[in-house]
Structure formats: structure tokens, C-alpha cells
Symmetry: C2
Subunit: 154 residues, 2 copies
Amino acid sequence: MGYPIRLTLITMPKHAREMGVLKEHLGKHQLKFTRQRELILDAFLKQEHITAEDLYHQLARKDPHLGLATIYRTLNLFCEAGLAQARHFGTQTQYDNVSHKGHHDHLICTGCGKIVEFENCDIERLQEEVATRNGFTIQTHRLELYGLCSSCRH
Amino acid sequence: MGYPIRLTLITMPKHAREMGVLKEHLGKHQLKFTRQRELILDAFLKQEHITAEDLYHQLARKDPHLGLATIYRTLNLFCEAGLAQARHFGTQTQYDNVSHKGHHDHLICTGCGKIVEFENCDIERLQEEVATRNGFTIQTHRLELYGLCSSCRH
DNA sequence: ATTCTTTTTGAGATGATTTATCAATTTCAA
DNA sequence: TTGAAATTGATAAATCATCTCAAAAAGAAT
């Protein structure tokens, strides 16, 4: 009986953990915490993946008119801080939100463009094996499977 | 005893099989077989992977002066014919020669840029599993492992 | 709070890569 | 050989991302 005691968590600001990661990275590199960086991180974390251009338009309506260059700079900063990962799919660069998972693999439908994300420990273990056998130490990886989803096969 | 009877193969023109693949693709799409396309395929097949720019410079001295636009058009044509595969690595597009292997996976050193190619049947089998579980039929895939090679780790 | 140094921002210029345009040329089937 | 259709090459244009730099903001030290 009694209510679950989650009040402190419920009232925590959104994306507190990621904001902390960002601040730690900034501190370590003599960089500053700005309103723009906060706004962009907040918006970025609401998506699985987005392009700089899309994020620019999404934020254009907000109060200060954020420059496109700032969006690019900040997304690249997130990559360095380990909050995002750049991926070149098609013509524009996609920035993936990897703040809540170790790796990010994709199943991509060549028919409709649908993207399904997955994780597979067995594959990752085999990747480590291959790398070790070749004297490499893996920092990150990218696995994309292209094909037709069930709807597009017909 | 006696010599191995491989004479017909030995005297076959280089890249005959791939040239056949190209011609078949051209025929199916009302496209024409030109001297440029022949030259570009010949040069392209001599590498594992190359950028349009590099191929352009490599061919610049040859008889008909090939335009850069033609190189791009033709490499994209090869992709459609299944002879090449485009990969966005860094800023330029890399065109991989996939004519003699099923798939093309890479170990890429983030220190020196060295690229090691590998194939791993176990990984491919697991990829099929993942795809099937999600209702996908795989057409192709891309696996890139980024890390430091043994020389760059120091 | 004020000052001061350093970093960041925004707007547009710039750079890099790829595609589009179009007249002249080439291919290839009739 | 002829003629319709496709291709080519040169360059313009488009696309995407980074660079430049003066003005603004951040943050530490007064």
C-alpha cells in the first residue's frame, strides 16, 4: 500500500543525464555551456535520428533564430561527446541519437525507406573476433542491412 | 600428364565476365555500349575501391578525354548493374568493386585510414536471422568496423 | 556587480562534391 | 548509309558542410 516513491525522478528535468554528459565534456575541453547548446540537445534527444537541416527547420520557430552553422557545429560536438553518431545515408548526414544505447544497427527498406533498429550481441562478438585477428582495436562500428520489408515485397 | 587445358580461359580478354554483365544491363535498358564505358569499366575493375575523382585523374591521359561527369555517370551505372557499390566514407563517395565477391566488409583505421577487407560467414548468417525475424529480405549490406590498427595504437 | 579574456554565435562567403544542362557526337538498328 | 535515340564533355548549377569574422555571450577574477 502507499504510492510508489518516484517523485524525485518524475520531477527531474528531461534529459538530465545527457545534459550532464554534455557538461562534463564541455568542462574537460574548456568549452562553454550555452543556451543554444542546451536547446539543440533538448530537441535532438527527442528523435532517433535527424539531419542538421531538419533540426534547423524544427528549431527555426523557437525564440532565437539558430544559425545552420551552429546546428552543424553542435551536432558534431555531440558526436565528440558520445551523444550522437554521424551516418552517411543517401545524400545528407544523419545524426543518430545514441545516448541510450551502446550501438546502433539498422535494417533499411529500399522500397519505402523504413528504418528498423536492432542490436545483436552475437554479431558484435564476432566483430571483435575479426578485429582482433587483424590487429585492430574497435572504437565503433556501423552495420546496415538493406532489403525489402514485408509490405514492400509485394 | 600433359598441359592443363586452360588455354581458352588464359587467352580470354580481361574482365570478360564483367563486360558481359555490363552489356546485359545495357541491353535490358536501351542503353548503348560506348568506348568510354568500356574504358572506365576496365580501369575500375583493376582496383578494390576508388573515388570518381581518382579514376578521373587516372584516366585523364588516355585517348578520348573523359569528362568528370562521364565518370560519375558511369560509376553510378555500374552500381545499377551490380558491378559496383557506393559507400560514403569521409567526404567523398567510394565506389567498391564488388564484381568478384558477394559482400564487402571493411576494417577501417581511424588513425591512418588503412582499409582491410574481410568476409565472415557467421556474421552473414546472423544478419539473415535478424532480417527474417523482422520480416525483411536482405538485398545487400554494409558492415564497417572503425578502430585503430596495430601501428596506430601506439 | 563589473571587468576582462576566451569562446560562441550568426550570416554569409567559401569550399568540396555531385548532378543537371545542352549542343555536338556517337551508337546501332533499319 | 541513314536517322532516331542515347551519350558525351564542358560548364553551370545544386547540394551539403565548413570557414570567416565581427558582435555577443559565458564565466572567472576582481
